[in-house]
């Protein structure tokens, strides 16, 4: 099934919210593995997001202008003897999308709770 142009899937929304949370905690940049850990921690699960799913979502968010990325200075990775990282950070549009998603989720939650509580 094709997605509507500009619409976000739940994983992309979760990435925006998680990145926004970290941004408010003072973490402005994250690499792929870090965001996978954040997402797993936030959802309370052990399994990290699949490679293909995660990096495709990151690429799509970057294309939509909600994230921006930069390659790590190769000298740093060479000095630490590890592969180079790609760092992502949330843009102003991404922050707005996260805010909007949070607002929608808080609007939905009480309605669900009310429905569940009604029979009692």
């Amino acid at each position: 099934m094709r997605r509507k142009q500009g619409s976000l899937v739940p994983l992309e929304i979760a990435i925006c919210i998680s990145a926004s949370d970290r941004h408010h905690q003072g973490v402005n940049e994250f690499h792929g593995y870090e965001i996978a850990r954040y997402l797993a921690d936030d959802a309370g699960r052990r399994l990290l997001t699949a490679y293909g799913t995660l990096y495709r979502a990151l690429g799509r968010l970057e294309k939509m202008g909600l994230l921006r990325s930069r390659r790590e200075d190769p000298h740093i990775s060479a000095r630490e003897n590890r592969p180079g990282r790609r760092f992502y950070s949330l843009t102003a549009e991404g922050e707005a999308a996260a805010r909007e998603a949070r607002k929608v989720s808080t609007e939905k939650t009480p309605r669900r709770a009310r429905r569940r509580l009604a029979p009692a």
Binding site: Y33, L47, A50
Partner: protein, 161 residues
């Protein structure tokens, strides 16, 4: 210490990444390969890695992401030259197949396998011209007549010679 399963899983992820990024635009290909390589390294050096469960973890992440990898590949191939090249190759292959289907019967026609076909043995064939001078339209009519004689009512076919 890493288990053999973990080593195998990491090798499989690398091999799969090489496969689905094969012959892509170099910048895209290198970016994706670096990201996966970095992810694997981070996982290996993270506290949650180690033991056989980490091998299963890597394999699960690999297999669950395969559909997205393929979609990503298609998305990125279609918007670039490779997509056009792929479509051109597919069109050429289809054209060659159609040409082959067209040419092979024509060659058969010229080399005379018609001299001994059921159509020539058909009762209606004796009423028409000899096989050497048959045109394609004659041959077609002959086949239709024979088919009609075969499937038609008994006794209504052409008379025996």
């Amino acid at each position: 210490m890493k288990s053999p399963l973990f080593g195998f899983a990491v090798a499989l992820v690398r091999a799969w990444t090489r496969l689905y990024t094969w012959r892509m635009e170099p910048a895209l290909r290198e970016t994706r390969r670096e990201e996966i390589e970095s992810d694997l390294w981070e996982f290996q050096h993270d506290s949650m890695a180690g033991g056989s469960s980490s091998g299963f973890h890597v394999l699960a992440r690999l297999f669950l992401g395969v559909p997205s990898d393929l979609c990503w590949r298609v998305d990125n191939a279609l918007s670039r030259d490779e997509g056009l090249r792929g479509r051109a190759a597919l069109t050429t292959a289809a054209a060659v197949l159609v040409a082959a289907l067209w040419i092979v019967p024509a060659l058969f026609w010229r080399n005379g396998p018609l001299e001994r076909t059921r159509a020539n043995d058909c009762p209606s064939a004796s009423t028409t011209r000899p096989a050497d001078s048959l045109t394609r339209a004659d041959y077609r009519m002959q086949v239709i007549n024979c088919a009609g004689a075969f499937f038609g009512r008994r006794g209504s076919g052409p008379p025996e010679p």
